[in-house]
């Protein structure tokens, strides 16, 4: 494989992400990792559900009393939109339009960072209310589940930025196309997890 090979939109393969053996391997391997991640998050969700509203006797905070929907709604919209913007980025990647791809990726990163900022704000707010990580079994389970998701968002942002910076000068080729594709897959997966978090943790939490 020649890393310096230049492509035009005409010579760019239909599926650049799986055009090379390495790309194919990464593609399959990454999906397998996502399967494992599903089980990881399932374990966290299961534990959260088991420990929901459980705490020492006289515990002050319960899900119904704690969570507020407007902020969560805003976060959800932002993350869903960032999923769409990363789809746009991949659309341009497949059309071998590097500049547009980078631009859409930048939008995605921006949205992701906003989401993360809001999450940090939310956590900070709860901690100030007195709902700390070591407060109860419930608080431990909540912060660990949502925090693990947040850590995934953070890692995804770092990954996006590293790829964008590293490849800014050399443009798209079949060596880095799989990398861009994988990070966008990862981003969608993060979105999927969030769909369950807002449903199971926040919505089902508010209705008690």
């Amino acid at each position: 494989m020649d890393i310096n090979k230049k492509y035009t939109p005409h010579s760019w393969p239909d599926h650049p992400e799986t055009a090379t053996m390495e790309g194919k391997n990464k593609f399959v391997g990454f999906w397998l990792l996502l399967a494992a991640e599903s089980v990881t998050f399932a374990s966290l969700f299961a534990t959260y559900l088991a420990l929901k509203d459980k705490g020492p006797s006289g515990m002050e905070f319960t899900a119904a009393g704690l969570f507020e929907l407007p902020l969560v709604f805003a976060m959800t919209m932002i993350l869903l939109t960032s999923s769409l913007t990363s789809v746009y980025a991949m659309y341009h990647m497949k059309n071998h339009n590097f500049k547009s791809m980078q631009a859409w990726l930048a939008v995605t990163v921006l949205l992701g960072a906003t989401f993360l900022g809001l999450e940090i704000y939310e956590f900070n707010h709860y901690v100030h209310l007195g709902f700390g990580y070591t407060n109860s079994a419930f608080s431990s389970a909540f912060y660990t589940l949502v925090g693990t998701h947040g850590a995934h968002v953070l890692f995804g942002l770092g990954w996006f930025i590293a790829l964008m910076v590293r490849n800014a000068k050399r443009g798209l080729n079949t060596y880095n196309a799989p990398k861009f594709f994988l990070v966008s897959l990862y981003w969608h997966f993060i979105d999927v997890v969030w769909v369950f978090i807002f449903t199971v943790v926040y919505l089902m939490g508010v209705i008690g």
Binding site: M1, S11, T20, F27, S38, V39, A46, V87, F196, V200
Partner: protein, 110 residues
């Protein structure tokens, strides 16, 4: 082995065709995105409106499930050709995930 890309330069017609197809696919994506936003809105509204818990919980879980299918099949292209093996593993993963959650919300608590 096939480490090198088998290069194929498209003719103008092929190129136009592929582009058109991609643009169309992108429009589909926009539709599914609109649906996701819509489903999310329904979920939040249902909770905000405060219907009976027994009604809401199954509905919002169903909405979440639909969203996941949209993400997997439209945004993540799980339905593409040659994705059979990975779909199998993904669904095995979800099966295990489902069993774990089912256990934790049913049999172990007193």
């Amino acid at each position: 082995m096939a480490h090198d890309v088998h290069e194929h330069v498209r003719t103008k017609e092929e190129y136009e065709y592929v582009r058109r197809q991609r643009a169309q696919e992108m429009r589909h994506m926009l539709t599914s995105f609109a649906m996701m936003i819509f489903l999310t809105l329904i979920a939040f509204t249902a909770v905000a409106a405060g219907f009976s818990t027994y009604l809401i919980v199954p509905i919002i879980l169903l909405l979440a499930a639909i969203q996941v299918v949209l993400q997997l099949y439209h945004f993540m292209h799980l339905s593409n050709k040659g994705s059979g093996t990975i779909a199998f593993f993904m669904f095995s993963g979800m099966f295990v995930a489902f069993i774990v959650i089912l256990t934790f919300v049913t049999i172990i608590w007193w």
